[in-house]
Structure formats: C-alpha cells, structure tokens
C-alpha cells in the first residue's frame, strides 16, 4: 500500500506559512536552497495575519533614548529572567534591521512627522517601540512576505497538513502529510525542516486563537525526538471579548491600552492603581490578566464577567484611525461603539511562550536538521512575552532558522526515507475511518477545552493539575476511538481527529510542567505557591518523548555573561 502517496523533494522544507515560516523560506531561498512551504490553510491566512498591535524594535524613531540594551532589559524583565539571554540579545539587536527590510520589500508602516516609522507604547516596553500599521500590523507583514515569496519562487503547498516527521537514524529526513482538499497523501523528502507552526491555544475554550493552533509542530518535534521547553508558560491575554457568547475570546488588541485605554471595574474604579500603580494599564500581560481575573472573582466584574476598557475619552476620529478594526469588530459583533462607550473585556488564552527547545544562533533543535522558529520555538520570551515581541521574533529567528537550515542542507547528504515509518503514519492517519464507535472528535475536543480552561488556566493548583492529568488520560483513550463520517474529501471531522492528537500531547506537556514548577512566575501562577522561587529562576522544564511516554527533566538556565548582567542591573526601576 506504499504507492498511495506522491513524493516531493526539497533542500529545506518549512512547515508553516506565518511570519516565521515565510521569513525562513525567503532566507533559505536567498541562500540558493530549493524551498517548500507547507501550511494547513490558504497562503496568507496564518495566524500572523491576525496580529494587531505592532512589531517591537528599538529603532528610536519616537524616543531617541531607546536602544537594543533597553529592549533586551525589558524582554528579560518581562520574562522574569527565564529567557534564553542570547536569544533576547540577538532579538533586540536585529529587530530594527528586520523591520527596515520589510519596508524595503514594500510594507508601509504608519509614519512620524519626519517620515520615519512611527512607534507606539505597549505594555512592559520602557519606550515607544512598536512599529505598526493601525491595528493590522500582522496583515501588512504577512502580505509583504507572501508577495515577495511568491515572486522569489517558493513552492507553497496550501491546505496540506503534516502529521509526522520522518527520520533517518536520528536526523530528519522528511515529513508525511495529507492534502486537506482531497485527502490524498504526500511525502516530503528534505535535508532540513523548519517548524514554524505557531501555538496551541485551541486546547482552551476561551482563546484568541484559530483552529490551526493545535500545537502540531511541537507534537511533531517531540515525537521525532526533540526537546520541548517552558511548556507551563501559556499567556492569557488580559483583554479578549466577553460578550456576546459567540465572540468570547476574540482579541482586543493591547494597542487600545497603548493608545490610552483605561480599565475600570463595575463600580468605576481604575483598579490597576492597586495592582501596578506605576505602569497601570501598560503593565505586563500576566499582571493585567491576573488583575482582571481577581476583580471578577471578588465580585467587581461587569455584567458578563469582565472589566470595562474605555478609549472613548479620545476623539472619535483618532480612535477610528488608530484602531479601525477594533472599532468595526465591536460595532459589528457586539453592537458597541467604542468611540462612545467602554468595551467589556476579560482574559483569553493567547500565546505559547514554550515550545521546541532551540539553539539561539541557529534555531536548531536537539534533532539534527530540525529547526524551529516563531511561536513554536521556546526561549526568547521566558515566562511571559511582551506585546509586539512576537512579530519581531518571527522575523529575527525566522531568518536565522532559514539561514541555518539552508546551510545545513548544503553540508549533508540526501537522507533516505523509511517505508515503515510512512506506512505507520498512514495507518494512524486513516484509523478514524475504520473506528466504529460513536465517539465524535468534536465532543472530545469540547471536553478537552473544558479541562484545560478549568484546571490549567490562569491560576493553577496542584490538585487541579493532577486531576487534569487524569482527565487527559481518559481523553486520550476516547480520542483514539473517535470515528468520522463521510469521505476523505475536505472532511473537517477527520482533520480534527488528527489535530486532537497534537492538542493532547501539548496539553499533557503543559500540565506536567505546570505541576512541577512549584512557584509563581510570569504567566504561570500557582495559588498554592504564590511567590517566585529563586531556585526555579535557574531552571527550565524540559519535556521529551521517550519509549512511547512523555518525560519531564529540568535543565539549568544558561548563565549570562557579565556585560549583559550589567545591562540588567542598570536602572533598577
């Protein structure tokens, strides 16, 4: 049954066509590699398109005092020093060039008076640092990369899902995938593979993420032998929509607060004065999310269980110009005119700080030839990401991954594909069609979301996490039995049954890591361990897949050189 698939060969195969994947593809192409990009949805629809607020880069166009050192310090502080210092340094140093590059490829950012790229304030950033295009920065970025890619000659495999990485004696050899449209199978042979598959938010009920965010890349890498890191750090964005129910979780960009939005509780109190009087609304996301959560828990929430976010004190024209899509989003979906009244907002699962553990310089994972960049990779953000640091992350490390992947492909001989692995992958993928039970993948997914939402949310306890692990075991058993109706032609039920597998893997990794980290740090808050623990400041949680089982290890946080320590010590504000 092995001839059931077509085969394609590339030097570098990139899984994911978001900012990270496309930037990697462009770089690998520039190095002369033959590049294929696979993505689950249509080109240009990846999550990056939804990014709103901006790209963080210390260009110092608005605040001349800004420089990479301050950006580095902000990033490390935001991540509570769990970040990989080298990644944070490279990121801060290279981001401005990456942004300029985008501009030279045709992106048009909002401008300052003297014609430079305009930058706005964002939570946790000392200076005005976010280069933006109104509130649709991600769209501008992905379109720019996409159009450039198309003209440089990248082969894009759209609506094609990778379900397994193929290995050849410990290094990557290719990937097994299916076309979503037809259900046909395809095998890629590649010397290097870059994982740029984004996050995992779809395992939670209230999330700003789309169906694509099922953690495929992390699950694929983990199964192929790579290490995952920092999986306990899931960012809950403080401001998602809470009403009406259909739109619950949809993001309200931090740019609303960046442009001067004020948070209030039911009784009209500006509650951030109590939680972070210095930075107020522009505190880091973990702090603001917890503050809103606490307000609601203590009975000071709004009618639908959120907080009020108000920008209506700014002139209506200004709001419409700076936050056009927020204006429309609320007007059309919630019947609220944000130039006249407040929005109701509450925390929503948003971003995954953890992911594939990679080398800072090359973005290579612990498996030779396997690279990872963007949200799917770990390290840069530590325990909490600052707004705007993701888009810059995509560009900086997307480029580095593409460069290193092309370089790796030049140096190694062609791998050989193992038929047994392919057959195994095919059997697994098609299993739901031969399952006969009545278990529906949709039902399992709904229940998984409840478990993660209720037991592995913003505040965690040992008891909840232990229960979550047990529940996940049961869900795994149910998922294995899930059956699907219909044919292989564009069948979402079938698609979900594979996505479920990834979600279950990453959910377990998150829960295991969260259980082990007996402290509160950044996005990880334990009610039973409410304080930061200096011992845990020196350790990352590592997840590996060994002998068919998920294992957790600890690994020391890399020691920072003295000159960087010096930067952190400066201005102890």
């Amino acid at each position: 049954m092995t001839a059931n698939y077509e085969t394609r060969e590339h030097d570098v195969l990139i899984i994911g066509a978001g900012g990270a994947g496309l930037r990697a593809a462009l770089e690998a192409l520039a190095q002369g590699a033959s590049v294929g990009v696979v993505c689950k949805s249509l080109l240009g629809k990846a999550h990056t398109v939804m990014a709103e607020g901006g790209i963080a880069a210390a260009m110092a166009n608005v605040d001349p005092a800004d420089n990479w050192k301050t950006h580095f310090r902000d990033t490390m502080r935001g991540g509570k020093f769990l970040n990989n210092w080298r990644m944070a340094q490279l990121h801060a140093q290279e981001a401005p060039d990456r942004v300029r590059e985008l501009e030279q490829w045709g992106a048009l950012f909002d401008r300052t008076e003297d014609g430079a790229i305009l930058q706005r304030a964002f939570g946790g950033h000392t200076f005005k640092r976010l280069c933006h295009v109104g509130d649709r920065t991600g769209l501008e970025m992905i379109r720019t990369l996409q159009d450039r890619g198309v003209h440089q000659g990248i082969d894009v495999y759209m609506e094609c899902t990778v379900t397994r990485l193929l290995t050849d004696g410990g290094r990557v050899a290719g990937a097994f995938a299916y076309w979503r449209e037809t259900g046909r199978l395809i095998v890629f042979k590649a010397k290097s593979i870059v994982i740029a598959t984004g996050g995992i938010g779809k395992a939670w009920r209230v999330t700003s993420n789309s169906w694509e965010y099922t953690g495929d890349g992390m699950a694929l890498a983990c199964e192929a032998g790579a290490e995952l890191m920092d999986m306990e750090f899931v960012q809950f964005h403080p401001t998602g929509m809470v009403w009406p129910p259909g739109v619950q979780g949809i993001l309200v960009t931090e740019a609303v607060r960046g442009e001067g939005g004020i948070l209030r509780n039911k009784v009209g109190e500006r509650f951030m004065e109590r939680y972070d009087p210095k930075r107020m609304e522009l505190s880091t996301r973990d702090v603001v999310a917890r503050s809103i959560y606490t307000e609601v828990k203590e009975g000071r929430g709004t009618e639908h269980g959120g907080a009020y976010l108000d920008i209506s004190h700014k002139p209506a024209e200004y709001v419409k110009k700076k936050l056009p899509s927020m204006y429309h989003q609320f007007k059309e979906l919630a019947d609220v005119d944000i130039t006249k009244g407040p929005m109701e907002v509450g925390p929503t699962c948003h971003y995954m700080m953890g992911g594939v553990r990679v080398d800072a310089e090359t973005a290579q994972s612990t498996v030779p030839g396997l690279f990872a960049a963007g949200e799917a990779a770990a390290g840069l953000h530590g325990s909490n990401r600052l707004g705007g640091n993701s888009l810059s992350d995509l560009l900086v490390f997307g480029r580095r991954a593409g460069l290193a992947a092309a370089d790796h492909a030049k140096r190694v001989a062609a791998p050989s594909l193992d038929n047994a692995q392919i057959e195994q992958a095919e059997k697994e993928l098609l299993a739901p069609f031969s399952n006969t039970g009545t278990e529906s993948p949709y039902a399992v997914h709904r229940d998984l979301q409840e478990v993660m939402q209720n037991l592995v949310g913003i505040y965690r306890t040992q008891e909840d996490l232990k229960k979550a692990l047990l529940d996940l075991e049961k869900l795994k058993a149910r998922a294995a039995k899930a059956s699907v109706e219909g044919s292989r032609l564009f069948n979402p039920g079938w698609h979900l049954s594979y996505d479920l597998k990834s979600m279950l893997i990453v959910s377990e990794a998150v829960t295991l890591s969260a259980l082990a980290r007996t402290e509160s740090r950044g996005a990880h808050s334990r009610i039973d361990y409410p304080n930061a623990d200096p011992v845990w400041e020196k350790k990352n949680n590592i997840i590996v897949h060994e002998g068919g089982e998920m294992k957790r290890r600890e690994s020391p946080v890399p020691e920072m050189p003295p000159d960087l320590k010096q930067i952190l010590a400066e201005d102890k504000a």
Partner: protein, 249 residues
C-alpha cells in the same frame, strides 16, 4: 424554548449536490459561522467550511448567505430573517470542492503575474504619512475574494483568462501608488489583466468587508493611468517629449 433557525446549506462537491436543511439553536450575538460550527459539532461532522480567525481578519470564511456574498463570521444571525430558511451556498464564481469550500487557486495564479514592489533607484527611506494614507486603504485587503466572486466579469462571463478581477486591481493600486515604487504596470493592466473589462458597476465595492472603495479609489484611478499612457494623445505626446521610458512589464 430556545429560538431556532433553519440553515439551508449546500452539500455536495464538484460533481453536484443539493441543499440540506439543519435546525440550529440561536444564541445572542451568534454569527452564521457559529451556526455552521454547530452543525459540524452536532449534526454533520463532515460539513466542509473554511475559516480561521472568526473575527473578520483573515478572509477565509466567504460564502453566499441568502444570495449575498458575505463573510460568514461577520454575518449576524439576528440581522437575518429567521422565519424562512437561511441559504448558505459556496461562492459561485469558483469551482466547488466540497460543501462551502471552493477552489480559489486561480487567484493565487493571477497574483503571480503582478510584478512585485521595486523601489526607485537611490530612494531615501523617508515616507510621508500623507503619501501612506492613500495606499493603506488598499493594503487592508484580507483576500476574502468576495469581490472576485461577485464581479460579473468573472461570475457571469467567466473571463478568468483575460481579467484579473477587482482584488488584483486593489493590489496593483497599492503598488502603483506606493510613493517609492519605480515600476509601471499600466501596460500590463491594459493588455494582460484586462482592466477594460471592468465596466465600473461597483458590485465589488458593495461587498468588500474591509470597506475598500475598490471602484472609486483603485479601479478608476488605474483606468485613468491607462488612459494617460495609451488613449490620451496629449499626455502620450507629452511623455514622449519628456522622454519618459514606458517600461511596460
């Protein structure tokens, strides 16, 4: 009792199909895409629908609701009459794949024909907001292809080979009016992308969820630029005198 609506959804593939009615409970603020998800989750797990953001940002969920091309994630159920079935059909102008999913790959092929941004030699990277404003309107496009779907040149006359469609006029407008772009795409517009087929009847503008004023701000100005280069004897003469190179692409 909970309020219910009937959705009459196309089920079928490239070979044919029919509409099927589904009863769906209505929640406050619900959009058509929510209703389709309800059908997937409870009634027909293999109902094929494209979507990503559910917030009107990615342009994946286009379909025809009660005969009107719409983003299903931005079409509120409470704006539709629920006393009759709500028809949800795939976009008509593109080949059907399955249910509400159509083959939009033609659009990606057209896009390849358009020469990318190329800065004028020796430009300084200073750009004034005044020049950016006009172009940013075009850059808002989320590629939902609703304008392509509704445009009668494609929908009724199937001019896929000769005509690029409004979406790509929007894209070209963004390039042509980019303050630093040095290329000239007027010849391409006239000859290969068939801007002359557009009879400015504005259906594209009517459906654009991003409220881009496609006809007034992109197509007509481009038509005027084509006139400058190919139909207006005075400007043509003037260009010759000045020695403008008409580097058609």
């Amino acid at each position: 009792m909970m309020k219910e609506a009937t959705l009459r959804v196309f089920r079928g593939d490239s070979k044919g199909g029919q509409t099927v009615d589904y009863r769906v409970p209505i929640a406050p603020g619900m959009v058509v895409l929510d209703a389709l998800h309800y059908i997937q989750g409870h009634l027909a797990p293999d109902l094929a629908v494209r979507w990503n953001c559910k917030a009107g940002k990615c342009g994946s969920c286009s379909a025809e609701v009660n005969g009107r091309p719409r983003l299903t994630c931005k079409t509120r159920m409470d704006d539709l009459p629920v006393d009759q079935p709500i028809t949800v059909l795939p976009m008509k102008s593109f080949p059907r794949i399955k249910d509400l999913v159509t083959d939009v790959s033609w659009n990606y092929r057209v896009n390849r024909k358009i020469p990318a941004f190329e800065p004028r030699p020796g430009v300084e990277w200073k750009i004034s907001q005044l020049d950016v404003d006009r172009v940013q309107e075009f850059r808002k496009c989320i590629e939902c292809f609703l304008c392509q779907n509704v445009c009668h040149v494609l929908r009724e006359h199937d001019k896929m080979e000769q005509f690029a469609g409004p979406r790509f006029f929007v894209r070209i407008a963004g390039l042509e009016m980019h303050p630093l772009d040095g290329r000239d795409r007027a010849g391409l517009l006239k000859d290969q992308l068939g801007i002359g087929f557009c009879n400015i009847t504005k259906c594209c503008t009517e459906v654009c969820p991003e409220e881009i004023r496609i006809t007034d701000n992109a197509i007509i100005p481009l038509k005027e630029r084509v006139v400058d280069e190919f139909y207006d004897p005075l400007t043509m003469l003037f260009r010759k005198f000045r020695g403008d190179k008409v580097q058609s692409v």
